[in-house]
């Protein structure tokens, strides 16, 4: 008997891929407390710390001497899913995530050039649900940790104008845990257990995919002044194609306690436990045995441009526009290297490009204390039919507030609080069962999503 059906593993890998590619969804940009507090609007009028290696590599040239900027962001996701019919609310179970960042920069005394290194985590969140969540067959847990290493060089090529950039070396780890639905598995070729009467969302196994990959890209920027009061800047982060070549797919059986009756199509004796029939599928060499799988995920390009105003005595203002090319996330090649190798395939996605508008302000108070305020609006790339437990992506409103306090002539402490607010969005908890189903057919409830981020950083100048 063959109870394995290809989409099981395909969906497993695909879900991991989608998670990884949900950069806008998970992209809280918690890289540097100053930038967070200013609404991520720091491309034109950058924070005076080395985190600009990420935000605008060109502006690093304006930092004199050695400077170090290090810190962490603690991210807590909230929200859940409310089903249409039962109105039952399933809360998210995402744990607290910690995303560190470290930047080092050396700038020439004449502000002509600078060299540095940035290590940061632009993707570092986890979506996780309780074990009884009805959408666990889409995702029980999806986590992504991508660390970027970016050497940087910036150069002032004209008075007030700099360019900069450097390669980005990415190391990414992805993990997905997912329940498997017996109703979707084939009992005999061409006949699913669902067609034998097994209820949809009957959990018979849990799958775990864990893998790592690397990629190389680049991050470049340009920064300049327009007269005495205006600054302009732009950055471009290239797409990164991360290869997860040896991901591990493992499966564990979950008892269903189902029993076959007389006259069943499997021709098993009446009273035969279904779990016994299924157990053979987990044996070495069988479809649900541990195996390798590989895929490639293209992280979309990002472009951000901003305009800053410093004509006020003690206040700086900036507005930015950011664009992410999610439409490039179009294909997912899935290659199995085990018993399911014949099921290798390419999946097609349908994300839209996304954009965000970012505004921020920084006000200098007495004795060097700075207060910061920011807001950004993020347009989700996920189409209406792709709002799932992996990430119920939704348009976001980010509210930021923060401050910077000089601890000594050499050290400064920055703190920021970010609240991600959404209006929620209708979504689904199950895969489409046939082609052509639209959001109206698929979506069966309402997702809420929010997040709170506390970012703390220390800046040191030498």
């Amino acid at each position: 008997m063959n109870v394995f059906r290809a989409p099981t593993l395909v969906m497993l890998v695909a879900c991991g891929a989608v998670c990884g590619a949900h950069a806008q969804g998970f992209q809280l940009n918690e890289i540097g407390s100053c930038a967070v507090a200013r609404g991520f609007a720091v491309t034109a009028s950058p924070c005076k710390d080395p985190s600009t290696i990420y935000w605008n590599p060109a502006a690093a040239a304006s930092l004199e001497g050695w400077s170090v900027y290090a810190g962490v962001a603690a991210v807590k996701l909230g929200g859940g899913f409310t089903a249409d019919t039962s109105r039952t609310f399933s809360a998210s179970d995402a744990p607290l995530s910690i995303a560190p960042h470290v930047f080092v920069n050396y700038g020439s005394k004449d502000d002509r050039w600078a060299a540095g290194l940035g290590v940061y985590v632009p993707y570092g969140l986890t979506s996780q649900w309780h074990s009884d969540f009805p959408g666990r067959f889409e995702a029980l847990k999806a986590s992504l940790s991508s660390i970027y290493f970016q050497p940087n060089f910036a150069y002032r090529f004209a008075p007030g104008w700099q360019v900069g950039g450097g390669p980005v070396f990415a190391y990414s780890h992805v993990e997905l845990r997912q329940s498997l639905d017996l109703a979707q598995q084939e009992a005999v070729p061409g006949l699913t257990f669902g067609q034998l009467g097994v209820a949809a969302r009957t959990e018979f196994a849990r799958a775990k995919l864990s893998g790592s990959g690397t990629a190389v890209g680049f991050n470049v920027g340009v920064h300049g002044t327009l007269g005495a009061d205006w600054e302009i800047g732009a950055r471009y982060l290239s797409p990164l194609s991360v290869h997860y070549d040896n991901a591990d797919a493992t499966f564990s059986q979950v008892p269903t306690n189902l029993v076959l009756s007389a006259g069943n199509p499997l021709n098993a004796p009446p009273g035969t436990p279904v779990d016994g029939v299924l157990s053979t599928e987990f044996a070495p060499g069988q479809p649900l045995s541990a195996q390798k799988v590989s895929t490639r995920i293209k992280h979309p390009a990002q472009f951000q441009v901003g305009l800053g105003y410093s004509g006020l005595v003690t206040t700086r203002l900036e507005g930015d526009f950011e664009w992410t090319q999610f439409s490039s996330f179009d294909q997912l090649p899935i290659a199995f290297k085990g018993p399911a190798s014949s099921q290798s395939r390419t999946l097609f996605e349908n994300y839209d490009n996304s954009w965000s508008i970012r505004v921020g302000a920084e006000h200098a108070f007495a004795v060097g204390i700075k207060g910061r305020l920011g807001f950004s609006y993020v347009r989700s790339p996920a189409p209406d039919e792709t709002v799932t437990p992996l990430l119920p992506d939704v348009n976001r409103r980010n509210y930021m507030v923060g401050f910077g306090i000089p601890l000594s002539p050499r050290y400064t402490f920055d703190a920021a609080y970010l609240h991600v607010d959404t209006s929620g969005r209708r979504g689904r908890i199950a895969d489409p069962t046939s082609a052509g189903q639209n959001a109206l057919d698929l979506n069966s409830g309402f997702y809420t999503l929010d997040a709170n981020v506390l970012s703390l950083s220390i800046r040191a100048n030498f």
């Binding site: 409310t82 249409d84 019919t85 109105r87 009805p134 109703a183 979707q184 006949l191 699913t192 257990f193 669902g194 067609q195 034998l196 009467g197 097994v198 209820a199 949809a200 969302r201 009957t202 269903t256 189902l258 029993v259 076959l260 009756s261 007389a262 006259g263 069943n264 199509p265 004796p269 009446p270 009273g271 035969t272 279904v274 006020l312 005595v313 003690t314 206040t315 203002l317 505004v359 302000a361 006000h363 305020l373 807001f375 409103r397 509210y399 607010d421 959404t422 209006s423 929620g424 969005r425 209708r426 069962t433 046939s434 979506n443 409830g445 309402f446 809420t448």
Partner: protein, 410 residues
């Protein structure tokens, strides 16, 4: 500086205004219209072929959706799912009585599966054709059942599958198969290969109690309706043996069989015996001699007068068993404060009114048993399901002071 303070204040105000625009997180829920009463928030039906939607010797998606529980749920305005079976069915219903042909050209052993999209998580109609009182709560594989048990319940019992739906209201119509197969065979004792026998009253009560206890364990049920067992001796598939002496009846039977029929001397114009029309099919197939006997013959030759025949004593036995079942079911309903419905009352009225003919018109291809009985002579037709649903609605409304609207008569 005041200019800057105004700017900062303006920014704060902007943020607060946008924050205030955050909306009610559940305003976009697509919530079904509420049921006519919260009692019916989740309705589940248990039972056998009557409840599952078996008609004319078969069942498919069409007949399933004509069944009374679907109609009840529709009138209750509560979501209701059935285990939709692919057309033509499992087996396909008979579409022409004299020929015995079935929908889609299938046979009595044809069985299609569940539709691909019918793998629902919650099943509201968990009734399975062929189920007797033993089956709803007994482990799968220990009772009766065939492919439909698997296709409908998917490896669980009726009680287990019912509780998956967290029912607030249930209807239960079980017990017909504790007596029907034996009655149809004409042999009321258990004879392997011939008759399962009639379930004893004690066994029936034990089975029924086990089912009720299992349902109670779910802790969600707030009400229900229990439906009595049909006195199968009144099933239209049986015709009175005395009718063979009426003008034109015997020739009609002979025409149906395609051969002369001998009427044994055990039959008289005053005999109380009833004969299962399946005897004619057996004659046609050569599985029974072309003789009608009205009582078991002394030597039990060929089962004459015994198989497919119920004499007055046997009819009384069947009736007594059904009455005992129904007394217990009604008592259970009373104890629980649930509604009770006796289907024998409207069945008798239909017979008395001639809407269910005493003797079927064997030449009628689509309605030999009238408008209310399907082509198998046992199961209710679509029109009968409407009638049953309306009568049950009246019983439920009377018991719970609810206002479920009745259906328009067909």
């Amino acid at each position: 500086m005041s200019r800057e303070r105004n700017l900062v204040a303006g920014a704060v105000a902007f943020v607060m205004i946008v924050a205030a625009a955050a909306c009610n997180p559940t305003k976009d829920l697509v919530v079904p219209a509420p049921p006519v009463n919260p009692l019916f928030a989740s309705y589940v039906s248990l039972g056998n072929s009557f409840t599952a939607g078996f008609q004319s010797g078969g069942i498919n998606d069409s007949t399933q959706h004509q069944a009374y529980p679907v109609l009840l749920a529709q009138q209750m305005n509560t979501p209701f799912t059935v285990a939709s079976l692919l057309d033509p069915g499992c087996p396909p219903p008979i579409d022409s009585f004299p020929k015995g042909t079935r929908v889609g050209g299938g046979t009595s052993t044809t069985c299609f599966f569940r539709s691909q999209v019918s793998g629902v998580a919650v099943l509201n109609n968990v009734a399975v054709p062929g189920a007797a009182s033993f089956d709803p709560a007994s482990p799968i594989g220990t009772g009766g059942g065939g492919p439909l048990t698997t296709f409908i319940l998917g490896g669980k019992t009726q009680v287990q599958r019912a509780l998956d739906a967290k029912p607030t209201f249930v209807s239960i119509w079980i017990g017909n198969n504790d007596v029907l197969p034996a009655a149809l065979s004409g042999v009321l004792d258990s004879v392997p290969g011939l008759s399962p026998g009639v379930t004893t009253e004690a066994a029936f009560e034990s089975n029924y109690n086990a089912m009720m206890t299992g349902l109670d364990a779910g802790g969600t049920i707030k009400g229900g309706i229990l439906i009595g067992v049909v006195n199968v001796a009144n099933a239209p598939l049986f015709f009175p043996a005395a009718a063979v002496f009426a003008p034109g009846v015997l020739p009609a039977l002979e025409a149906a069989v395609g051969a002369p029929i001998t009427v044994d001397t055990s039959c008289t114009p005053t005999t109380q015996s009833i004969i299962n029309l399946e005897l004619l099919q057996a004659m046609q197939a050569g599985a029974a001699p072309d003789t009608i006997a009205c009582h078991a013959l002394a030597n039990h030759a060929n089962g004459l007068g015994e198989v497919f025949v119920l004499d007055a004593t046997e009819i009384a036995f069947v009736t007594q068993a059904v009455n005992a079942y129904n007394a217990f079911i009604q008592q259970t309903a009373t104890t629980k404060g649930w509604a009770y419905f006796d289907p024998n009352v409207p069945l008798a009225q239909l017979r008395e009114g001639g809407q269910i003919p005493v003797l079927p018109d064997l030449t009628q291809p689509t309605k030999p048993f009238g408008d209310f009985i399907s082509l198998d002579g046992i199961h209710p037709s679509a029109a009968a399901h409407v009638l049953l649903a309306n009568l049950m609605i009246q019983a439920i409304n009377a018991q719970y002071s609810t206002s479920i609207p009745t259906l328009a008569s067909p």
